[in-house]
């Protein structure tokens, strides 16, 4: 359940739109930040808060890459492999991250610390290759930089 402070936040979000249904995406972000993922219970709660049917919320959550219905690691590590990064060695960056974390793409480390994903263009083509960790960008990545990057996170 969300608390009063969060309820106030949701009221403020609703004010930005003429129809409170439009508050859905920001409210989903709020729930995801709190619980780490969008659970069935959260969908029920949001359904009541915004007067949107559960199935419509599910339709939105499942559409977007950045909303997840299952828990992920504390750090979501994303390696871009689209062409500008590909031309700047992203394949080897991805391999080096896999080796460092001991997992393959799509997997989460046993301690639930890291989830590794291969992603589409992040808009860092001029500073390729890029790794994003919880939506913070680490640009001009090299295989040498990977060790220190992850050691600093634990």
């Amino acid at each position: 359940m969300i608390n009063e402070e969060e309820l106030l936040k949701i009221e403020n979000i609703k004010r930005k739109y003429p129809d409170s249904k439009a508050a859905l995406m920001p409210v989903l972000y709020l729930f995801q930040e709190k619980y780490g993922f969008i659970s069935v219970d959260s969908i029920k709660e949001i359904s009541q808060l915004l007067n949107i049917s559960e199935v419509d919320i599910k339709g939105v959550v499942s559409f977007y890459e950045m909303f997840h219905e299952k828990p992920k690691g504390k750090y979501i590590v994303q390696v871009c492999t689209n062409i500008s990064c590909m031309l700047c060695n992203s394949e080897n960056i991805l391999k080096a991250v896999e080796k460092k974390l001991g997992i393959k793409c799509g997997e989460t480390t046993k301690d639930n610390l890291f989830t590794l994903e291969e992603v589409e263009c992040l808009g860092s083509c001029g500073t390729a290759p890029v790794i994003s960790i919880n939506n913070r960008y680490y640009e001009n990545m090299t295989e040498e930089k990977i060790n220190s990057l992850f050691d600093n996170l634990k």
Binding site: D19, M66, F67, I83, C125, N135
Partner: protein
């Protein structure tokens, strides 16, 4: 050459520095003009949309109905998800107040009370940067009720996307804001008649809107004389791939492609030859290395080599790169991002990807290229939105331009 969008001034993110170089004078000037005078000035400038379609901005604005009881909306499109495009984030980071000022002028000209700046969800850092600038402008009452002591009130809100390329398509973007599953809508009706919540809506790209304060301050005629005659102004050329100095370079439209690559982006890494250039994001038809001499970068000039300016995100690909590997990766993107609403796009992108992966593995057969072109032709023009075309063009035109090389690759592995 004067930079209109990203001037070399440190600390421009702060409102005081921006005002120090004449920031927020264009909106004050605009508030003394009538909305029609502003639209006329933008028409005179010949400014064309910077999101890829190059549609004349003034004309688009004139589609908004003037006598309506319905509220009107402006969406500023910063979804920036076309691969190889990374220009709008420079504006959020280095000149956010000019974007805000442009949004205010557009809102006033169009009679808009709420503007939404839609930014891709991954750009969290840039959302925070822009929000900081918006907060500063609210504090000074440059946004909000009776701005600059006028009788005009308007709000600006950021709407954060959540990782879907399709939301850069204008009707999908509106459904995304409304909280719906963001499938693109059929057109007509067009957004100016039936946009957000069924109300008149205009959607402009971030870079387009950032040009507006300059046009108001210096005049449409002044602007229309910069760069290429039919596509005036500057562009934020984003250069990436096999170059020594990748990055965003603001230069006039019509700048020679070879100048952008060799004078600004430091030339090709290792002095290799260029095999292929993608001139404006991955959906634009590619250009062969032997076609770039004297080629100017503007909407009209690129037609001569069968391509288009798109987002001006230029990918330089050297002679050692496998064309099939590039094309397979591009096609994988469009397959992944197809929203699934239209069968030709949903199924066709997957079929093209399977065939390309087969060729990449060395298992291609000679009939594969005709098959790919046939599938691409059956996607193109047969979908609700332009994602289908965006997926079909790279396949169709890469085969057209590099057929011999691809055939040799297939033949060798037979």
């Amino acid at each position: 050459m004067e930079k209109l969008i990203l001037p070399d001034i440190k600390g421009l993110q702060s409102i005081s520095v921006y005002e120090g170089i004449g920031g927020y004078t264009a909106i004050k000037k605009a508030l003394k003009m009538t909305p029609n005078e502003i639209i006329d000035e933008v028409k005179k400038s010949n400014l064309r949309g910077r999101g890829g379609a190059c549609f004349p901005t003034g004309l688009k604005w004139s589609f908004m109905p003037q006598n309506t009881d319905k509220p009107k909306y402006l969406c500023v499109n910063g979804d920036e998800s076309e691969p190889a495009s990374f220009k709008d984030r420079q504006i959020f980071e280095f000149n956010p107040h000019q974007l805000i000022e442009g949004t205010l002028i557009a809102a006033y000209a169009l009679g808009v009370k709420i503007s939404y700046i839609y930014i891709r969800g991954e750009y969290l850092s840039w959302i925070e940067m822009l929000q900081k600038a918006i907060d500063e402008a609210y504090e000074k009452n440059y946004i909000g009720k009776n701005i600059f002591n006028s009788n005009f009130s308007t709000d600006i809100y950021i709407h954060r996307g959540a990782g879907a390329y399709i939301c850069g398509e204008e009707s999908s973007l509106m459904n995304s804001i409304e909280g719906l599953r963001p499938y693109p809508r059929n057109k007509p009706p067009f957004p100016a008649q039936n946009g957000l919540w069924g109300c008149p809506t205009t959607i402009n790209n971030v870079e387009t809107i950032t040009n507006i304060p300059v046009i108001i301050n210096k005049g449409g005629e002044w602007f229309s004389k910069i760069g290429a005659e039919k596509h005036p102004g500057t562009l934020l050329y984003g250069v990436s791939g096999n170059v020594n100095k990748p990055g965003v370079y603001e230069l006039p439209t019509g700048t020679l492609l070879t100048d952008i690559i060799y004078k600004y982006a430091g030339g090709v890494k290792g002095d290799k030859k260029i095999k292929m250039i993608i001139p404006g994001g991955t959906s634009m038809p590619p250009i062969r290395g032997d076609e770039i001499e004297n080629l100017k970068m503007d909407a009209e000039s690129l037609k001569s080599v069968g391509s288009a300016i798109g987002t001006a995100g230029i990918v330089v690909i050297d002679e050692t790169v496998d064309i099939i590997k590039i094309l397979t990766r591009i096609t994988k993107f469009y397959w992944h991002e197809s929203c699934g609403q239209c069968t030709p796009c949903r199924e066709g992108t997957g079929w093209m990807l399977k065939i390309l992966e087969r060729i990449e593995r060395g298992e291609g057969v000679s009939s594969d290229l005709d098959l790919l072109v046939e599938i691409a032709n059956n996607i193109e023009g047969n979908t609700v939105c332009a994602l289908g075309d965006a997926a079909a063009w790279p396949v169709k035109f890469t085969i057209k331009k590099f057929r011999k090389e691809i055939e040799e690759r297939i033949y060798k592995s037979c």
